[in-house]
Symmetry: C2
Subunit: 341 residues, 2 copies
């Protein structure tokens, strides 16, 4: 089991990715291939004590965040670190890719080099959110701003596969993010997706409202990439806002300051779940290989977590399961669309 790390991806590359790889190799015994310019990575690696399980795979730099037409640039630069890393998974030299590079570039490279699992219409970004009441696999977090109902059913299938194989939850409960509990609530997409999810054979528990997202009512939450992205980012913003408000109020009195010094670790622990950079990254679901996209601001800890997430998924056999399950589904005769929906 080897993970290919795009060592030049992210705002803090190569220092933090290399450091994260060293931590993962040392603490988690994960084998990491650092992909990028050889001399740069060798120099960076020398700053750390020698550790077993790290290799360097020469490649060019990664695709810059500023690239205007990312998909075109990705195609024109087969030597780019991200493309070389994907190629390693393609030909079996690695079992997963981790990158903190530009999300669009990583998606384009994954699509271009690895392709989709047959039967899946659209890859989606899945984020595992560790709420206190239970982990929720949330997708799509932003890959597909416009969705068809069939995509949402496939998101449910992919999310279920993830929760079952990687997290070990049998028969994961699948919920549809919606604006009411009744089946006839929501926009046209949500209504049609509700009907199809009910007939999908998944363990579909119905609609989940925004106020209940964190309450552990579902293991998988599906929505279109527009709503999903807004929901996750509003949640992140509100968490920041609350911290900032608390800080402001605390500063207004010496008594508050004293109390807050005591409470700070408690607050930090409470808010940790809502900091997406702690999770180790988003899973690009539906690609024919394990691809984890870490936050652009990732530090060594985030990269280490990302390598752990990728390694767990690769070890779980998630991709093989999805290949089999979707090839069965696509081989099966098309179900007749229900009339009048």
């Amino acid at each position: 089991m080897k993970i290919a790390l795009d060592a030049m991806g992210g705002d803090r590359a190569p220092a933090e990715p290399v450091k994260g790889a060293v931590l993962a190799a040392k603490e988690l015994k994960i084998e990491v291939a650092l992909v990028g310019p050889q001399q740069v990575l060798q120099a960076e690696l020398k700053k750390h004590p020698l550790v077993e399980g790290i290799s360097i795979v020469p490649a060019g730099d990664t695709i810059a965040m500023e690239a205007d037409d990312v998909a075109r640039v990705v195609r024109q630069r087969p030597d780019a670190a991200i493309n070389v890393a994907m190629g390693m998974v393609k030909d079996g030299r690695a079992q997963a890719v981790v990158s903190a590079g530009h999300t669009g570039a990583v998606m384009a490279s994954a699509f271009f080099v690895l392709g989709r699992i047959p039967g899946i219409e659209r890859p989606a970004i899945g984020i595992l959110v560790p709420y206190a009441a239970g982990k929720v696999f949330f997708l799509d977090a932003g890959a597909n701003p416009d969705c068809k109902p069939s995509y949402l059913v496939q998101f449910g299938q992919m999310g279920s596969a993830y929760m079952e194989k990687v997290i070990g939850i049998p028969q994961p409960r699948v919920g549809l993010l919606n604006i009411g509990e009744e089946s006839n609530k929501g926009n046209e997409l949500a209504q049609e997706a509700h009907a199809r999810l009910a007939e999908s054979g998944l363990n579909f528990i119905g609609n989940v409202e925004g106020v209940h997202v964190h309450k552990g009512v579902a293991d998988v939450l599906v929505t279109d990439g527009f709503t999903g992205n807004v929901a996750l980012k509003v949640g992140e913003g509100i968490a920041d806002y609350i911290l900032q408000q608390v800080r402001g109020v605390v500063k207004s009195s010496p008594l508050f300051i004293a109390a807050s010094v005591l409470l700070k670790p408690a607050l930090r622990r409470a808010l940790k779940d809502l900091r997406y950079e702690e999770y180790g990254g988003a899973n690009l679901m539906g690609i024919d290989g394990v691809v984890v996209i870490a936050h652009g601001r990732s530090d060594a800890l985030a990269i280490k977590n990302g390598l752990w997430v990728a390694n767990s998924a690769a070890q779980s056999g998630l991709i093989e399961t999805m290949r089999q399950s979707f090839s069965r589904r696509s081989a099966a005769p098309e179900t007749t669309p229900a009339a009048g929906r």
Copy 2:
């Protein structure tokens, strides 16, 4: 200036609405007509010291929350408190309606009795969120799960009118809730709405991402009713979640408990902005009259706030301004749709 209060609407009616009316009349000198069954309201009113400015307008009960086909029920019961209250605005005996009843019933009644302002395609639910960095008028919060780009432009016009007339902000900055800053980001609806907002003559500042909603970058934020409802409810849920997490962690140590006793008022103050019931209600925008929908769980304080919100809007001349502005717009020749968008 008189406000018609649906005294039987909400989970805690008639006690809390009547108490809220008494508070509003006493503290804010707002004239309130309690609309509902005369004997019930008389009995309830007797529990309070006599206060000037409160009258009772006889009507039946309000529409029950359980009604299946709300719109039909509203039409079949012209004597229902909510319909009688709307009728008072229609014929000038009151200048605004406040109800903590079923949102669907209030909307149906408003539509049925008062109708739309000519030129407005769809009424929307507007919520004024008082973030520390500045108030944001957020719409649509859930009335229209499916929207056309033209609706979003009208939401921007209605929100601008509200912020200018009621809150007193000249040339309100209008933002579009979206998943990226560039104009080509988002789903089809957001992309087309962006193009139209840019040409609308409004003070359009472009896209606003979920993480920036609370940062005071815009005075008005427009989105479709599906995304808007999910965003507001996720925000509400996350705020609840954080409180609950903090409580849990605090309980784990006596030191934390001591600190939290000191910090509790600070936390409460910091989180107050995110409790939508504190705002006094949502504004039903686009209806030809001021209609404020208070939370179903409203207590007397929330009702008092709702009466204040309604009174401010009625005094501001918001409806007259919107009538004039939309009649000008509808009289103007249709702008040619830009090609290739």
